[in-house]
């Protein structure tokens, strides 16, 4: 079984400040980890993924995430937040041993960046 936890329903930051959106996961095998962003009445847009290799992954719009195997975490970060980053963010995990690619998502974190 695989699961994802996003412990914060809401994250508020001021524009220009760094932001972190937290994600922890559980899988029986090795994880593939993904971050998506969702704007109102839109589908999920892919931001970045960790497959293998460097633990620090860089993605779209200046976002990055760090894979930490010992803490089973994959937190999303950005050095300087923009008001336009305000949206709903989802972390997802897939088990490496599952070729089917079924993803399990967290319940999402609403990010609000205030000017």
């Amino acid at each position: 079984a695989q699961s994802v936890a996003q412990p914060e329903d809401q994250v508020n930051v001021a524009e220009g400040n760094p932001l972190t959106v937290k994600c922890t996961y559980s899988v029986s095998g090795n994880p593939y980890l993904f971050w998506y962003v969702q704007y109102p009445n839109r589908g999920l847009q892919f931001l970045l993924k960790y497959i293998t290799g460097d633990n620090l992954v860089k993605g779209s719009y200046g976002f990055e995430a760090e894979f930490n195997k010992s803490q089973t975490s994959f937190h999303l970060k950005k050095p300087s937040a923009l008001v336009s980053d305000s949206a709903l963010y989802f972390c997802a995990v897939r088990d490496y041993s599952t070729n089917a690619g079924k993803s399990t998502f967290g319940d999402g974190t609403t990010l609000t960046v205030k000017p």
């Binding site: 993904f34 998506y36 892919f46 070729n99 089917a100 690619g101 079924k102 993803s103 998502f105 999402g108």
Partner: protein, 115 residues
């Protein structure tokens, strides 16, 4: 096409009616996924196709839910005798290949409201 498309975008059904939701994946994408997203929650896996083969339908909540992809491109999710608890956004995603590491590209979703 440029992205995953879904139709209709909004569907209102009376309890007991049958509905059919359509997904057009990105051209040439091998794999197709259906997810159900209830209000305030992350997407929940329903089913998965690789070409025309339905490889995993473990997430379908009841035998009222049926999905098909007869020619390996367009897919239809059918819900028979709709119930109020079926109200949700139904998301479709596609991937280029059949690997767990492949990125899923999501459509805008169909919002189903059952009265």
């Amino acid at each position: 096409g440029a992205g995953v498309s879904q139709s209709p975008r909004y569907k209102v059904a009376k309890r007991g009616q049958d509905v059919a939701l359509r997904c057009d994946p990105i051209s040439g994408h091998v794999s197709l996924f259906w997810y159900q997203q209830a209000l305030g929650q992350g997407p929940e896996f329903l089913t998965y196709f690789q070409n025309e083969a339905q490889l995993d339908k473990s997430g379908l909540p009841s035998d009222r839910f049926f999905a098909e992809r007869p020619e390996g491109s367009v897919s239809t999710l059918k819900i028979q005798r709709t119930q109020q608890e079926d109200s949700a956004v139904y998301l479709c995603a596609s991937t280029m290949g059949g690997l767990a590491s492949d990125t899923q590209y999501f459509g805008p979703g169909t919002r189903l409201t059952v009265l």
